[in-house]
């Protein structure tokens, strides 16, 4: 792998950048791999990278129907945080957070992870009880967090209306300083480049059309480029998980919904942190390019269309203008939609299936991007060892039978 650094940049500049190498190859598929990952998004690519790096398994293919990082990796609001309420979720996301903290160096690719802090606002007394509960739990789990009062909030976000004049005045907030944002596309590209360098085959424009099984065990996948064999197959296809599950003849407790987001025109920096509000349904940060990046709520109906309904966007901007009256004259440049795979308890499924050798990693809902390295890391271990990584174990699909849900819906731990 060609090393990246400021020095290299200067060196290549002198040769007119004509000697940069490919960041990944375009290999012909082999007939058999040790492990196939279906889905070349951030999670799939991270899984492949950690399989090669931490488990020495390099005879791996990532099979992607479109382009690498083309699903929700390319369509999210890039927020990274780990301040989840329930232990199981907090541990998993904190595992991801620790990987984020060294990711650019590990991958030799600047994913621009920016720990600018995330603030979750409280607007009612119950919001504040929930915030206290969550921050206390985070602290005892070794995760950074504090509760801010209105004065502290106003100091960090001077443009926000913290007066009593708003419909739901801000009463306080939780604050995770280590949380932040990252450059979403770069995460997929960085993992792809590093995985490729370790020998992983990245098969783009290769659509899985079937999952071949025999005697209850997986044999490989049928693709638009022919059959590709492997005794272990990991499916990491987010919104399309249901489609893959159907191919394997299994049902999932998942529904795919549109999740919309939007950006403003680029503005001079005015917001140096991430502000989220569950109560008024909006969250906002400002990118290094100056765009205000704004997330909306999930549309209620099932949808694979990568677009949602206008009232959802309308309501989100009402919330943003309510919080930031000065942004009324800022313009919305572009909106888009992703397909999020939601589970009943707003927690992912990282699980074996009734089909031997077939594993699913899905159901991340709105939490997928922030988990990318952690998800890949524990899923790689799960695939390599044929059994769940300890952090993944609570996320087995069996919980929907036993009732042992990890209910992040319950106490404001949800949302993005």
């Amino acid at each position: 792998m060609q090393h990246y650094s400021g020095f290299e940049l200067v060196k290549h500049g002198l040769s007119h950048h004509e000697n940069w190498q490919r960041v990944w190859r375009n290999p012909e598929p082999r007939s058999q791999y040790d492990i196939i990952i279906v889905g070349g998004g951030g999670h799939g690519l991270a899984t492949a990278y950690y399989l090669a790096k931490e488990h020495g398994i390099t005879n791996v293919a990532v099979v992607e129907k479109g382009w690498l990082g083309g699903g929700n990796t390319a369509r999210n609001t890039t927020i990274v945080r780990s301040n989840y309420l329930w232990d199981e979720a907090a541990w998993l996301y904190e595992h991801a957070m620790k990987l984020w903290e060294g990711l650019s160096q590990d991958l030799n690719y600047n994913v621009m992870f920016s720990q600018r802090g995330v603030m979750n606002l409280g607007h009612t007394l119950q919001d504040m009880r929930d915030i206290n509960r969550r921050v206390n739990a985070n602290r005892l789990n070794g995760i950074d967090g504090e509760v801010l009062d209105v004065k502290q909030i106003q100091e960090i976000v001077p443009l926000m209306d913290c007066s009593r004049n708003t419909r739901y005045p801000v009463l306080g907030a939780s604050w995770q300083p280590r949380a932040g944002v990252a450059r979403h596309d770069a995460v997929a590209w960085g993992f792809a480049r590093a995985a490729d360098a370790l020998g992983v085959h990245l098969l783009q424009r290769t659509e899985v059309t079937g999952i071949r099984t025999s005697g209850g065990k997986v044999l490989g996948v049928e693709t638009s480029r022919g059959f590709i064999g492997a005794k272990t197959v990991g499916v990491v296809t987010a919104g399309n998980s249901g489609v893959l599950a159907k191919m394997a003849g299994i049902r999932l407790p998942i529904e795919s919904h549109p999740l919309q987001a939007l950006v403003s025109e680029p503005m001079k920096p005015v917001l140096d942190t991430v502000v989220m509000s569950n109560h008024v349904h909006g969250y906002i940060s400002q990118s290094d390019k100056g765009d205000l990046v704004i997330g909306a709520g999930i549309d209620g109906y099932n949808g694979y269309g990568q677009r949602g309904s206008y009232p959802t966007i309308e309501h989100t901007l009402q919330a943003i203008v309510e919080l930031f009256p000065a942004f009324s004259r800022v313009r919305m440049n572009r909106q888009w939609g992703g397909i999020v795979d939601t589970t009943p308890d707003a927690c992912p499924i990282i699980s074996a299936t009734p089909v031997g050798g077939l594993f699913f990693n899905c159901g991340w809902g709105t939490g997928g991007f922030k988990a990318t390295p952690g998800s890949g890391n524990v899923f790689a271990a799960t695939l390599a060892n044929g059994k769940a990584h300890p952090l993944a174990a609570p996320f087995s699909i069996d919980r929907f039978i036993s009732g042992k849900l990890i209910d992040e819906h319950g106490a404001a731990g949800v949302a993005h």
């Binding site: 479109g66 206290n132 789990n141 025109e265 919305m332 009732g403």
Partner: protein, 1012 residues
């Protein structure tokens, strides 16, 4: 301030400006003059302003290149006062008004003397596409500092720092036919549809309707085209069912023919909306249109050619030159070189020639151009250099010359000698891209057409495409296509086209265009001077070449790696050229390389216009009880519960919240207090199967509840988790009155309807919300009976009106239902009267209650009193993961009910049967003065060592005046087994509190006080 210049580029005659109305404006501190009818861009060009901005990445000087929505460079800041700042205004779409103040959005210290420009020149070489992914990584600790520096360069304009003084509104509309774009096709379509009696909306984004007809050289029916526009608009204005919306951009095309139209109502007049009859006007209006059929007549955007240094001010899109000359009477230079791949662009040279200024040459990429316009140019003696293109321009802040060479398009190389032509303006045209954006919003993929070298819209149900956007480029074709589109749209609405006749247009013969996008240079792409594809984001052909070299082969990868098309122009000028460059680098055709996807908005729209008036009090309706005015008058502090404002506590004098609550609590426990309980949800349930239905919905039995009796019920979801609770009274054998939590009222009604309509339609039962009809006043305390007795004729004796009975009668002379139920554990009556009688009854209570010290209390006191009794609040003491058994409410679970009620089956799942589930307990802090924090986490070990396992959390916590100590309710793992144990609560300040696990019922455990 610098003195105003004259308007050196303004023509003495013609144009659509009003020379009798001069307007003053400022740009970067200099005062200028323009005319009514100008855009800010045309006024700047008239005044000879070349440099309007610095580019984003390389800080290169930039001028105006286009005349409409596709302009990438002239993005300016408007506004005189702080609150009226408007960031990122596209000067080509901003009408000039008197007193307009504009500044560049980039450049430091000033736009034509920028320090960053030096950096850009020096460093540009080391900042290829995606350079930041390759550096700033070590040492890791330095990244935040690098990022801070990167952020300094971020952004175009700036947000105001004060609240917007303007208002915006929304209007819903329906129509048979929505015509988007009032150029030739759109006008022809709207006219035909309007004459046929359809409900028509015609919108157009520009200040005037007419589109290309406002600057065309052609005539219609033997008259200037603009005269036809006027006639058509005059006729349409007279048709009742036709709505004309100029200055209105169709910014988003959503599912099922829902289109949002953003109408700029006052942005052409002032920084903020002027007053009209003393009232502030609406700055912008969003028309939310549900259209039967949408006729897309959005025309085309001209593509510039891509050549070296094509960003120096003076490089323009050919068509824009015609627009400025013919519409605004502005010639944006003295000496023009035109570089083109097609006939149509010859108009620019002819229009320029008409003004008497010099056309140095027309450089045509084709070997043998031969259309009518070519012939005309030849006949005027204009030099035409064929088989050639401008490969580079010269100049620093303005073009000083153009390098022209013969080129081999197929071989992508310069094939002959290079000639330098002295000029100050280079117009270029690489063809015309249909404006497919709106159709793409719906998810329809545009389709490539080789014959027009462009993408046309994908098919959308209910959409008809007409004119340039449909590949019908000539005027005659566009008019005919508009007529046909109208006929198709009318047919789909069940109407017939009437009175459609085609106006007469002379056909202009045009030769075939060459497929030329980026122009070869003497040097290879990576070594040539910068050739810009996307001007706003400084995306160059070299950047795209580098991306493909590095393996970013999908067009989506190319776009994301280089930022192509991510600007505020969404790549209107650059996207197709960028795809063409990528296709060339990859050895593919354009359709093989991909398609071009656009998202709403077509052009950026203010947050304010999208939000409309739905902020502040209209963000979400606020609900008040009928007694609200009394609460306000008596100094209540309020709490938001759902949409309701509930009195939280009633401080007297300088009382603190704690003091007030302690006083209110004592009043209830010692004498009598009253709570406005009106916000509780109320649902009337009737029908012969009402009782059976309740038995299925609630966890406890309802079969034997007599008329006149009340019962508390718990409602679960079918996963066994508690979702709501409340008291339901039996009003008659088939008639019940259900109460729900304040926040849950609407959800519970929907829940009842869901089960009835979808699962058990055979049950005869009806539901109706009566929350707002009744006001509920809960009088609580030992003196409650005495007080009520003074106001009612009811028999209140304990024998005849028992705890959990309800009676009908009069209170203070008005009909009332009185429920003897208690949420405090005291003797209690909840008086329900019709809402409009409530104030009378409430005041009567206080009149009679004075001698008992009747005390109004709010939700906080209610919480303390109910918590002393161990009564839960759903949503505070539960969180969607708590079963009735977890709450210790087995008494409320009908294990023997014949029907498997909602939630029952789930209680026998392995996880809900676990002994060590979190269970409701009481906590008594060892330090009696201490009130535990609600949300505090419980641990079993005193020693703090992070991370440490948690066993539960505090859900409710207060200081009890009757107990004389703090107390709390908590959910604790295996709590039932831990009675008497000590648990610990480590706090953020480092203190670790200790508490004893006790029963959650702290006060009057036998319930004697409510039964007296």
């Amino acid at each position: 301030m610098t003195q105003p210049s004259s308007q050196p580029n303004r023509l003495a005659n013609n144009g659509r400006i009003d020379r009798s109305r001069p307007l003053r404006f400022q740009f970067n501190g200099t005062s200028y003059q323009g005319y009514a009818g100008d855009t800010l861009a045309s006024a700047l060009l008239a005044n000879g302003v070349d440099v309007v901005n610095r580019s984003f990445k390389y800080a290169r000087v930039r001028g105006i290149v286009a005349a409409g929505a596709e302009e990438p460079n002239a993005i300016l800041q408007l506004g005189r006062s702080e609150a009226e700042q408007v960031p990122n205004v596209r000067a080509t779409q901003q009408a000039l008004y008197d007193g307009l103040v504009a500044t560049s959005t980039s450049g430091w210290p000033k736009v034509d003397g920028d320090v960053m420009g030096v950096v850009g020149k020096m460093g540009g070489r080391f900042m290829p596409a995606g350079f930041y992914y390759k550096t700033f990584m070590s040492p890791a600790a330095m990244w935040p500092k690098y990022e801070k520096a990167i952020r300094k360069a971020a952004g175009l304009g700036r947000a105001p720092r004060e609240s917007d003084p303007d208002i915006y509104d929304h209007i819903n509309r329906h129509c048979d036919v929505l015509v988007i774009g009032a150029g030739p096709a759109g006008l022809a379509a709207a006219l035909a549809a309007g004459r046929s009696g359809a409900r028509v909306i015609l919108c157009d984004e520009q200040e005037e309707m007419g589109g290309s007809l406002l600057d065309t050289r052609e005539s219609i029916d033997g008259q200037p085209a603009a005269a036809w526009v006027e006639r058509v608009l005059a006729e349409l204005a007279g048709v009742a069912d036709v709505l004309l919306l100029p200055r209105t951009t169709a910014n988003g095309y959503h599912d099922h023919n829902f289109v949002t139209l953003h109408e700029r109502r006052t942005e052409h007049l002032a920084d903020s909306a002027p007053l009209l009859n003393g009232r502030r006007q609406v700055r912008a209006r969003m028309h939310k249109v549900r259209a039967g059929q949408v006729i897309l007549a959005t025309g085309t955007h001209e593509r510039p050619l891509v050549y070296a240094n094509n960003d120096v001010p003076g490089n323009m899109v050919a068509g824009a030159i015609s627009t400025y000359i013919r519409r605004y009477a502005v010639v944006p230079g003295k000496r023009l070189v035109l570089s083109t791949s097609n006939d149509h662009a010859y108009r620019a040279a002819l229009d320029w020639h008409d003004t008497g200024r010099e056309v140095v040459a027309i450089v045509d990429a084709r070997e043998k151009p031969d259309g009518d316009l070519v012939t005309e140019a030849r006949s005027r003696g204009i030099r035409i250099i064929t088989g050639s293109a401008v490969i580079e321009t010269r100049g620093a802040k303005r073009v000083t010359g153009a390098l022209v060479a013969s080129i081999d398009i197929a071989g992508f190389k310069v094939s002959g000698r290079v000639e330098e032509l002295a000029c100050d303006t280079v117009g270029s045209s690489g063809g015309y891209s249909p404006v497919v954006h709106l159709a793409a919003h719906t998810g329809a993929r545009p389709e490539w057409r080789d014959d027009i070298l462009g993408f046309v819209p994908g098919k959308v149900k209910g959409q008809v495409v007409a004119g340039g956007v449909n590949g019908k480029m000539s005027l005659a074709e566009a008019l005919a296509d508009g007529l046909e589109a109208a006929s198709n749209a009318l047919m789909a609405n069940g109407l017939e086209a009437q009175g459609g006749t085609l106006p007469k247009v002379r056909t202009v013969r045009e030769g075939k265009a060459a497929a030329l996008f980026d122009v070869p240079h003497l040097k290879p792409t990576m070594r040539a001077p910068k050739q810009f594809v996307d001007l706003q984001n400084d995306v160059t052909t070299a950047g795209i070449a580098l991306a493909t070299r590095e393996g970013f082969e999908s067009i989506e990868h190319v776009k994301r790696y280089t930022a192509l098309g991510f600007g505020t122009d969404q790549g209107k000028l650059g996207n197709i050229n960028g795809m063409a460059v990528a296709a060339r680098c990859l050895g593919q055709t354009i359709p093989e390389t991909g398609t071009t996807v656009f998202r709403p908005n077509y052009t950026p729209i203010t947050f304010g216009a999208i939000a409309g008036r739905h902020c502040r009090e209209l963000f979400d309706p606020r609900r008040y009880t009928a007694l609200h005015a009394w609460h306000v008058k008596h100094g209540a502090k309020f709490e938001e519960v759902g949409q309701w404002m509930r009195p939280w506590y009633f401080p007297k004098g300088n009382e603190s919240m704690h003091e007030a609550v302690q006083r209110e609590c004592r009043a209830v426990r010692e004498s009598v207090g009253v709570l406005d309980a009106s916000t509780l949800g109320k649902i009337e349930i009737q029908g012969k199967d009402a009782r059976e239905f309740l038995g299925r919905l609630y966890s406890n039995p309802w079969a034997k509840l007599d008329v006149g009796k009340c019962r508390y019920g718990l409602m679960c979801k079918d996963d066994g988790m508690v979702m709501d609770d409340g008291v339901t009274a039996c009003l008659g054998e088939n008639h019940f009155h259900m109460t729900t939590t304040t926040g849950g009222a609407a959800g519970v009604l929907e829940w009842l309807e869901l089960w009835h309509q979808t699962e058990w339609p055979e049950l005869e039962v009806y539901f109706n919300s009566t929350t707002d009809h009744w006001v509920a006043m809960a009088i609580n305390g030992p003196n409650a009976r005495k007080l009520l007795a003074e106001l009612t004729d009811m028999d209140l004796s304990n024998e005849n009106f028992k705890f959990m009975d309800w009676r009908e009668g009069t209170v203070a002379g008005v009909p009332a239902r009185v429920f003897r139920i208690s949420f405090t554990g005291e003797l209690s009556y909840e008086i329900n009267v019709q809402a409009n009688y409530a104030m009378h009854v409430w005041e009567a209570l206080f009149e009679k209650g004075e001698k008992y010290g009747l005390t109004p209390y709010g939700t906080e006191t209610m919480h303390v009193l109910r918590a002393e009794k161990g009564f839960i609040i759903v949503g505070q003491d539960t969180d969607g993961s708590v079963t009735p058994e977890d709450l210790g409410m087995q008494w409320c679970v009908g294990y023997k009910k014949p029907f498997s009620w909602i939630g029952r089956r789930a209680l026998t799942r392995p996880d809900t049967k676990r002994e060590d589930r979190k269970q409701m307990v009481g906590l008594k802090p060892l330090d009696s003065r201490l009130v535990l924090e609600e949300g505090a986490q419980i641990v079993l070990e005193k020693e703090l060592k992070l991370p440490m396992p948690m066993a539960g959390h505090v859900t409710s916590s207060y200081f009890s005046p009757v107990l004389g100590h703090g107390f709390a309710l908590a959910l604790l793992k295996g709590g039932n087994q831990r009675m008497g144990q000590t648990v610990y609560l480590p706090m953020a300040d480092g203190k670790v509190h200790a508490a004893e696990v006790v029963s959650p019922v702290f006060y009057d455990p036998k319930g004697d006080r409510q039964n007296v």
